[in-house]
């Protein structure tokens, strides 16, 4: 095979894969705008009716608010818990990091069903609201992403010297942390927050198993809708897809802005 033909083959495979992956999304999006689409190649007409119906449906708004709440609460808890730990490990005790790395991959190894069974057995008889258990469990599950994003932010600068310098200049540890550390790792914090938020926002397994019908989030509502109303569920899928695409876009922009190769200024004599 000549290089030219092998490139053609590669292009063909990639094109096929792209079509294979994109078609369902495109069709779902078109379906969400169509009046009817039965027994024909193209829909018979386009409409925004389904969007209007969904948005005005109180079930949808309640589910949306719940998902947003779950996402925000989880993000806040994850940041409050993990940011100080990652800071401490990086600045004062780098040897702890190997243990931390092990802990942070644990969520990958525990299937949701086992985690839920364990959580219910452990907390069933305690007067702790299940929603709190859920939020804490999701925060923990987001640990691999949160940890990695935060940990990366500490690469490349001597944060320990910066923090200690602020103390020597008379500042208190907490204000030094807020004024010196946070502004210099804000890209990492932002990325970690967005990742945690999207994973909590779209969480299905734990929420469904732990709270199920009592607490219908957007994802659970989406699955229920799928079985009853095809058009409405495609509307919801479209909205959800666009939302995720937007967050991914923001993530890409943040990462490009802050991880661009650092231009070191030329050493210029100043006298």
């Amino acid at each position: 095979m000549t290089p030219k033909t092998s490139r053609r083959v590669a292009q063909a495979i990639i094109t096929f894969l792209f079509i294979y992956l994109a078609t369902p999304i495109v069709v779902t999006i078109i379906y969400s705008f169509s009046t009817t689409w039965v027994k024909s190649i193209v829909p018979s007409g386009l409409t925004l009716k389904w969007y209007g119906q969904l948005v005005t449906n109180p079930e949808f708004t309640t589910a949306l608010v719940r998902s947003l709440g779950l996402g925000l609460l989880t993000t806040v808890i994850a940041m409050i818990c993990f940011l100080p730990v990652v800071f401490y490990a990086n600045v004062y005790s780098p040897s702890v990091k190997s243990h931390l790395r092990f802990i942070t991959v644990l969520p990958f190894t525990i299937p949701g069903i086992i985690l839920v069974t364990g959580l219910i057995q452990l907390y069933a008889n305690l007067p702790i609201p299940k929603i709190l258990i859920l939020v804490l469990a999701i925060s923990l599950l987001s640990l691999p992403m949160t940890y990695q994003a935060l940990d990366n932010a500490f690469i490349g600068r001597d944060f320990r010297a910066m923090f200690e310098q602020a103390l020597v200049l008379g500042d208190k540890p907490f204000t030094a942390f807020v004024k010196i550390i946070i502004p210099n790792i804000r890209a990492g914090i932002l990325v970690a927050m967005l990742l945690t938020f999207t994973s909590a926002f779209g969480e299905y397994v734990l929420t469904n198993l732990l709270l199920g019908g009592n607490f219908e989030t957007l994802k659970i509502y989406m699955f229920r809708l799928m079985q009853s109303n095809g058009q409405a569920s495609s509307v919801l899928t479209t909205i959800y897809f666009l939302f995720l695409a937007l967050i991914s876009l923001i993530l890409i922009i943040i990462m490009q802005r802050y991880s661009a190769p650092h231009k070191s200024p030329k050493e210029v004599p100043d006298h």
Binding site: A161, E164, L167, V168, L169, N184, E267, V268
Partner: protein, 346 residues
């Protein structure tokens, strides 16, 4: 002038179970620049961090200007510190970096503006006040770090290898500037370095450390000429270190008027060899061959092997014909310049 401005008494420091510093004692005087000199890993930075309050888990006493500061946290000690990595705050301008400590003290804005600009003038960086640290060169960054520490008028300024990340030319220039600031502003400085030339060039006083112990404290001249022990003799300069027996082999029967002790160590400094005998002082001739020679510019460095096989380092000013390498040469050393290691007479 009070004799001991900073007083370290029986300082003991353990880091993760290892005793790094044990029973250390020294004092430094007010308005002087004292260097803390020692090989890497000798515990210099550890002591500095204890003085700064970045490590408060220490035994013994640390007194500054008569006040016991050993238990105070870092932000209450009124001590400045300049880090090796500059530790500038990248999210702030040069002005804001220098103003940081004054703002923590909640000084009025006009006063801060004036003090910061004055300090930036002193370090010749007033034009860069709106730049960010990443836009400066290494030497400029370190000057900002020094200005940021000096603007608070600390009782004591600690500098932890502040020049080691810079290239040689800037290093020499900046060390002269640091000395100038120190004398102009009358700040007491404790300067950590592993570079002996740097320590010699700028210090009033040098404290040499090894293995968590003070080996010797004295003026640069004193440290160089009168090493207190074998470590000092090996550490300072490129002295020729000889045993008494070897010295006798070269033909010396006495050093500075006392008989050579076979069990003691002696040093002959390379620059004290002469190509001719002194007419006024008692000199001893040493004959041998030059095995190699290196022209350093102002000086020529020779490797010399005596007839008895002793290898010696010799340095002569580059002012006459270099010594020949193909035949025996005789060099002279004045008996009074030979220093016994550990002897206190100057």
């Amino acid at each position: 002038m009070p004799e001991a401005f900073l007083q370290i008494e029986d300082l003991g420091i353990n880091l993760s179970g290892n005793s790094i510093i044990n029973q250390m004692n020294f004092t430094i005087k007010k308005n002087t620049l004292t260097t803390f000199l020692g090989p890497s890993g000798s515990g210099k930075t550890t002591v500095l961090r204890a003085i700064a309050g970045l490590n408060t888990q220490v035994a013994g006493a640390i007194r500054l200007d008569g006040e016991e500061i050993h238990a105070l946290p870092a932000n209450q000690r009124n001590i400045g510190m300049v880090f090796q990595s500059y530790a500038l705050f990248p999210n702030m301008t040069i002005f804001d970096n220098v103003a940081y400590g004054l703002r923590v003290q909640k000084k009025p804005a006009a006063e801060i503006e004036q003090a910061v600009m004055e300090m930036l003038e002193t370090v010749s960086l007033a034009k860069k006040k709106d730049a960010y640290p990443d836009q400066l060169s290494g030497g400029q960054k370190q000057r900002v770090a020094i200005a940021r520490a000096m603007v608070l008028q600390p009782k004591l300024l600690l500098l932890d290898e502040p020049l080691s990340a810079l290239d040689a030319k800037i290093r020499v220039k900046l060390r002269e500037q640091i000395r100038k600031y120190q004398q102009k502003l009358g700040i007491t400085m404790l300067f950590v370095t592993h570079d002996q030339a740097e320590a010699m060039a700028i210090s009033d006083d040098i404290i040499v450390m090894n293995d968590g112990q003070v080996q010797q404290q004295g003026s640069p001249m004193d440290i160089y000429a009168n090493p207190a022990n074998l470590f000092m003799a090996q550490f300072i300069g490129n002295h020729n270190l000889l045993t008494g027996a070897e010295l006798r082999q070269l033909g010396f029967q006495s050093a500075r008027g006392t008989a050579v002790d076979d069990t003691a160590h002696y040093i002959i400094r390379p620059e004290l060899f002469c190509p001719t005998a002194s007419t006024t002082e008692k000199s001893c001739p040493i004959t041998g061959k030059i095995t190699s020679r290196a022209v350093l510019g102002d000086r020529i460095q020779y490797r010399f092997k005596s007839v008895a096989g002793l290898k010696l380092k010799v340095e002569l000013l580059n002012q006459e014909e270099p010594l020949p390498m193909d035949r025996d040469v005789t060099l002279y050393v004045q008996e009074r310049t030979i220093q016994k290691v550990g002897a206190t007479n100057a």
